[in-house]
Symmetry: C2
Subunit: 470 residues, 2 copies
């Protein structure tokens, strides 16, 4: 990669002319702010400039300019990623889609929405709800993350145990390719198999194959959807694991099945004084949403399974506010932990039945490395988020945290798991991905990347372990 | 592409040595039998040889041999495709996976199955049902088509209106690449985003990027699933279209919503003497499967919508045999029509709300070209199968059929539809795909194809409109 042969002032002027409806930022605070996403543990550099584009045409113009001048581009939404996928690289332009916030169309008859990449996930859900429709994917960041970023990372969430992940809802995309051309991929019809699934290839490719500027998503009817919540406190990981397994083997597919461990519970209770049971090791939170009587039956069955597996203080709720109260500890877990120090977030996904074993291995790593590791888990999916905490400025603790991080990834793989269930590879999971993917499969990634971005301009070095160039 | 520098006898001997557990066929009847799939209207040639491989290693050995000798490979399952995707090309080896029929594993705890490519769709469903699990995708060919072929074409089916298509169930694949290497793509965990979705890229790529030899599919619990059937006869396409629209707008997602037109009904009744109402223009067949009371409510609501939209002879059934009886006309429609002459099958998919308009345009094409065109439609998805019938040996009729075929594709596109909802591009839909896909998107296809199959050995010319080579 050559050094950009453009002086800062000229770059700023040129970019301003190419994105007249947007903004170009080159002041130091902005360059710092846009230099990384929410994965501060991953490496990052200050960009040359930040462009907030306002249209697909502006994105294309900026990409064309960058290509001509050999400047690399790091696209981003609101920067809520946890793997460093949006961290700036040396001499790059950060291209943010956050100003592109129009919900372009909601088609009630065909049940789809067209949204610009910068639309916030919750805003899309609200716009759909206003016309009786539902956009299910609900990453924990739904209040701040964008639909474009959700698509670029194939974001998961709480309800994916029943309703699937972002990919399952993306019908089509508008994408700016590395050569600056604008393409429309996918369809608006319910089905369609014309050619390769390039839409699906772009989803989860973390901006390395193209820049998503508009998304067409499938919606579901909202009518008749009632969520019922069930919680229970368990004396051990084994007991909670048995409850999760029993729900699955009885053929119940809950709309959410979340686990919070003791470390998390204590952090939340120390902060918010909710009066959570001090001796509980694990909290399980479930939702069911079958229509009518079937939903009440499911809720009763989940509650009975919780009790039979050793759960105590089992509660059921159907009133939305009550359900919200039951899930309060889940929503507050991450901010409660961040009060204790910078959090290094794992995203391993193991077979559902291996959740108790994986959790006990994580506790062993915490003890071995003298660390606090808290756990939030999408238990129904086997997707665990061990949160490794190292006090601010404590470099030895940071080194131990990194060692524990790698150990957890190895344990996950030994149990048949994958290094990233929903956060993406970004930069943080490159070593894990290199161990997980067969060499020839990494070669396939490189071949596809080289085919669609031969100059390596788009989000270089991210998303998959790159091969050495010849 | 060079002429194969191998004499027939030597080719046969070599292939036999490479696939010792399989079969090599070079006799004329076999070469004829394996020269095309169920799309006889598309061009085909006799292959040099047919290899029925028995293991992934044998597939890899044959691909390696073919690559070394510049011989192209056309992979296939049981050849039930309707677009010519498995039609043999000049000087090729047809590589059939039909002997690879092992269900390798069904994991009840994690709810997935691992099946060799040659496992028949219904056989997989039965194996899953035996342990309380369900494999939903149900192409009409489920009794004879293979899971490998289903994955290669991203097959749809009756229940996809609610449960999605093959892609939605494929978690991972074993694939033999064009260079003869064996790769394992995807995962067995519920979630996973490590790297590009190469699994999804392979699904629906019609054997042009690799040969699928093993498939890992997600399964659902079978417990508590009760299907209820509802049928109604309608006096006009408009009335039936209104019923379809009302079901959708009331937020009901049926487990099936099929439409059969008068031409189809008459062909079935002439053959089977079922006593179908002679004056009915359209039959709608629906299934619902919500659990418990909610299912009964849905069934009642669908029946009420049928009646309110002008449907007569509305019947509901919950007993599986009764439901089967209601759907008999649907199952018999295709064979009933094949009795009338060779059938040219369309697979257009339009917005749900455009189904009545599309059906009336199809009838206009039939009148204009003096043809019989019958219609089966997955109405709930907007996926229509106009079946164009030209009497055997009637060359002018065949030419008119081709003209009607092209006209229907154009009408579908004018209504915002796609040329293939579930059958794939193969050879028959190459012109339609060329019109549907933007030139730069066709370029992306070619770039991906060249990246993964630089010699163009795998199923050449299929799946997408190829660009001219430089």
């Amino acid at each position: 990669m050559i050094e950009p042969a453009v002086l800062p002032d000229i770059l700023s002027r040129d970019l301003g002319a190419l994105a007249p409806g947007g903004k170009v930022l080159t002041d130091d605070p902005s360059l710092r702010k846009y230099s990384h996403d929410d994965a501060e543990w991953a490496p990052f550099e200050a960009p040359l400039a930040v462009v907030l584009a306002s249209t697909t045409a502006e994105v294309a113009a900026v990409v064309n300019y960058a290509r001509e001048h050999g400047i690399r581009i790091v696209p981003r939404g609101s920067g809520t990623g946890l793997s460093g996928g949006a961290n700036a690289v040396r001499h790059c332009i950060v291209l943010s889609l956050e100003l592109m916030t129009d919900v372009v169309e909601i088609n009630v008859d065909e049940r789809y929405a067209v949204a610009q990449a910068g639309v916030i996930n919750d805003a899309l859900r609200e716009a759909a709800a206003a016309v009786g429709l539902w956009y299910p994917p609900d990453p924990a960041s739904s209040g701040i993350s964008t639909i474009g970023g959700n698509a670029a990372t194939n974001a998961g969430g709480i309800c994916c145990v029943k309703y699937g992940v972002t990919r399952d809802y993306v019908l089509g995309l508008t994408v700016v390719l590395a050569d600056g051309e604008i393409v429309h991929l996918g369809r608006r019809t319910a089905k369609g198999v014309t050619g390769y699934d390039l839409t699906g290839l772009m989803v989860g490719s973390e901006g390395t194959l193209g820049i998503i500027t508009e998304v067409i998503v499938k919606l579901l009817p909202l009518a008749g959807r009632v969520e019922q919540g069930i919680i229970g406190y368990f004396p051990s990981l084994t007991a909670a694991g048995a409850a999760v397994a029993a729900i699955s083997s009885e053929g119940i597919i809950p709309a959410a099945l979340e686990l919070i461990d003791r470390t998390c519970l204590r952090a939340v209770d120390d902060w918010l004084k909710l009066g959570l049971p001090g001796d509980a090791h694990v909290l399980l939170l479930a939702k069911v949403d079958e229509p009518g009587e079937a939903g009440r039956e499911s809720s009763d069955r989940v509650a009975a399974i919780f009790t039979a597996s050793g759960g105590v203080n089992v509660e059921q709720a159907v009133d939305p506010e009550e359900v919200g109260r039951l899930f309060l500890a889940r929503r507050m877990a991450y901010p409660a932990l961040e009060r204790l120090g910078p959090v290094l977030t794992e995203d391993v996904c193991v077979p559902r039945s291996a959740v108790p074993e994986m959790l006990s291995r994580i506790q062993a790593s915490a003890a071995k490395h003298d660390l606090v590791i808290a756990n939030i888990a999408h238990a129904g999916d086997g997707n665990l988020h061990p949160l490794i905490i190292a006090p601010e400025g404590d470099l030895p603790a940071k080194a131990r945290a990194k060692a524990a991080f790698d150990e957890i990834v190895e344990d996950c793989r030994a149990l048949g798991g994958t290094v990233t269930g929903e956060h993406g590879v970004g930069l943080l999971k490159l070593p894990g991905a290199a161990a997980e993917l067969e060499p020839r499969v990494i070669g396939m990634h490189q071949a596809v990347k080289d085919a669609l971005d031969p100059q390596g301009l788009l989000n270089p070095g991210k998303g998959f372990p790159h091969m050495m160039r010849h």
